[in-house]
Symmetry: C2
Subunit: 115 residues, 2 copies
């Protein structure tokens, strides 16, 4: 595991949000879980551009940050399932309204973001 060298600062609430949601695939993961796609294998197939290794890392962070919970079923073959925690659920309206802003301004933004 990578060890931070500079401490995280979270002066304002938006920093807290960013801290939790930053990560190339976290939005997709939260959204998938919210829509019932909960198992590691399913998630990997649903987000094929991300490698398993990275998804694993981001899932672990989401769990550590209290957004998702992880359940290990005691069956063979192995079964694992992620679910939104209460905190994770509380994020859904935020995600929705933020996504709405993005969609409303997509045309404008896409042109500008090209780079």
């Amino acid at each position: 595991m990578y060890e931070r060298k500079t401490p995280v600062t979270v002066d304002c609430g938006l920093h807290l949000f960013m801290e939790v949601m930053n990560g190339k695939w976290k939005i997709n993961l939260v959204w998938c879980v919210y829509n019932g796609i909960k198992r590691p294998g399913e998630l990997q197939r649903k987000i094929p551009n991300a490698t398993r290794r990275v998804l694993e890392g981001q899932l672990k962070q989401l769990v550590n940050h209290g957004i998702l919970s992880k359940k290990n079923y005691d069956v063979k073959p192995l079964k694992v399932e992620y679910n939104l925690t209460e905190l994770g659920e509380s994020l859904i309206p935020i995600i929705k309204s933020t996504a709405k802003w993005g969609e409303e301004n997509r045309e404008k933004l896409e042109k500008l973001i090209v780079e």
Copy 2:
């Protein structure tokens, strides 16, 4: 300038939002400008933990992404001022509600984010 090697993908609206707001100091910058702190020097003094060089870069991105506008006054000594664009203004309620979520859950989150 750094040149991207992999294209940016913005499948959903939240990606658009993240693309625009990602950057260690962008939130602070937008918030400062919104609160009337608009000149480069002022901004640097207001956010002393960031180096000038980085603030400059992030300001430039915010301008490129259509969130801020930059005005060069034709006076000596030089005077420059940043302002929110219409698109930038439309971001304010989003930022507020997102920050609210963060503050409401600050206690919980701070414990979890420690790392």
